[in-house]
Symmetry: C2
Subunit: 233 residues, 2 copies
């Protein structure tokens, strides 16, 4: 009874020859899992959510990923049309990986996953956090109803990464880049102290490494716009 037939190597149903896993299921969610369900894939997309990054940037934001796995995942994300590889102009010989327009479309799904999981009693917000995670958490947890009439712009500097945030008319903007004349500036070597300020509502003095400058009142208003979901259990 060893006529095992089944040498068919897991049907390359989906055009782009995906290797390992597929569900043979028309459900969009199942297809999403074929695209980004492998380990690390979705976190790579998260890291790219604020613009193109280089290979080593990605490794920096994803502690624990190996070069091999990062290479493989970038390849399959590229095949899937989620990521695009771009050569920077000659002076800088580097290449960057960036999301396609459709890739950016995954933002809502990523945020909803995060919002849901953050309400687990087992979620540990004290683990390390990449700069991109921090900024994406702002987009996720911002509550426009708490913004009132706040109009504030801030510069966020995490290590060498520069971001800015703006709150106006109950809306948040959070992007990579600089802002002219920020109302406040938060600077830290890593994301954690900034998360401690915004989510832990800790006083800046209590957060080692965090440098705060500018309008404290506007900063307080900004911080007040964010809160983690309450735990379920």
């Amino acid at each position: 009874m060893k006529l095992q037939k089944e040498t068919i190597k897991r049907s390359p149903v989906v055009s782009s020859g995906r290797h390992g896993k597929w569900y043979d299921d028309a459900c969009g969610t199942a297809f999403a899992l074929e695209l980004i369900g492998e380990r690390w894939s979705l976190l790579i997309v998260r890291e790219l959510m604020f613009g193109g990054r280089r290979f080593s940037d990605l490794r920096g934001g994803l502690p624990g990923i190996s070069a091999k796995v990062l290479t493989e995942r970038l390849e399959s994300l590229e095949r899937a049309g989620i990521v695009r590889r771009r050569q920077l102009p000659p002076p800088t010989a580097a290449q960057v990986y960036e999301l396609t327009e459709w890739g950016y479309g995954a933002e809502t799904a990523i945020k909803e996953l995060g919002r849901w999981a953050a309400s687990s009693p087992d979620h540990d917000p004290t683990l390390p956090l990449s700069p991109a995670s921090l900024m994406l958490s702002f987009r996720t947890m911002f509550d426009g109803r708490r913004a009132g009439g706040l109009d504030a712009g801030g510069a966020i500097r995490v290590g060498a990464d520069r971001f800015f945030v703006k709150v106006a008319k109950g809306r948040l903007t959070a992007e990579r880049g600089e802002i002219e004349e920020p109302d406040f500036t938060l600077e830290a070597p890593a994301a954690m102290p900034i998360a401690g300020l915004v989510y832990g509502k800790a006083p800046p003095e209590a957060l080692p490494g965090l440098a705060v400058t500018g309008d404290r009142a506007k900063l307080a208003g900004y911080v007040d716009c964010f809160h983690l979901p309450k735990k379920v259990a």
Copy 2:
């Protein structure tokens, strides 16, 4: 140089001893992946989205999953607090798996993943579909703006599974169960012909296995409320 140390078995950081994968990342999305990022896990949650199911029901809705993997995934989902196991009252000796309240909270994230992936040009909507997938796709793709003043209730029967849908005041209800005096009834041995009707806008006569009864005008109004996202490429 073989002093490999590293016998540490992938740190059970998260209280509940998760086995394989973890990211050591405070990001909610990363934590979500620890909860439901293993193969099949999220699809099991999807299958439970319309109420408790038995082991064999789940196998039926997840073609390709093995008993071993299903057992393992149910265990880890239970440890994570997403799934609960319940013994049915004595007469029926069976046990059912059902989502906890928090587990049901994953619905938005699941739908957003599906909505996003369905706009991939590589998505193949002609693959088989479980009854739960079909019903969840209704909740995902319903567009209240197209409902106008439609007020309609329908019974959906897929094999032995009974669901009902209602559209009223631009809102959709889609649940497992019966409805009294439906305006229309759709019945088929599998979900596909119903998907062909609703999303493919195919005439019922062209769909083998599909039985349609009731008010055709209301059915047409219902069908008109749904459309797949347009492909990006």
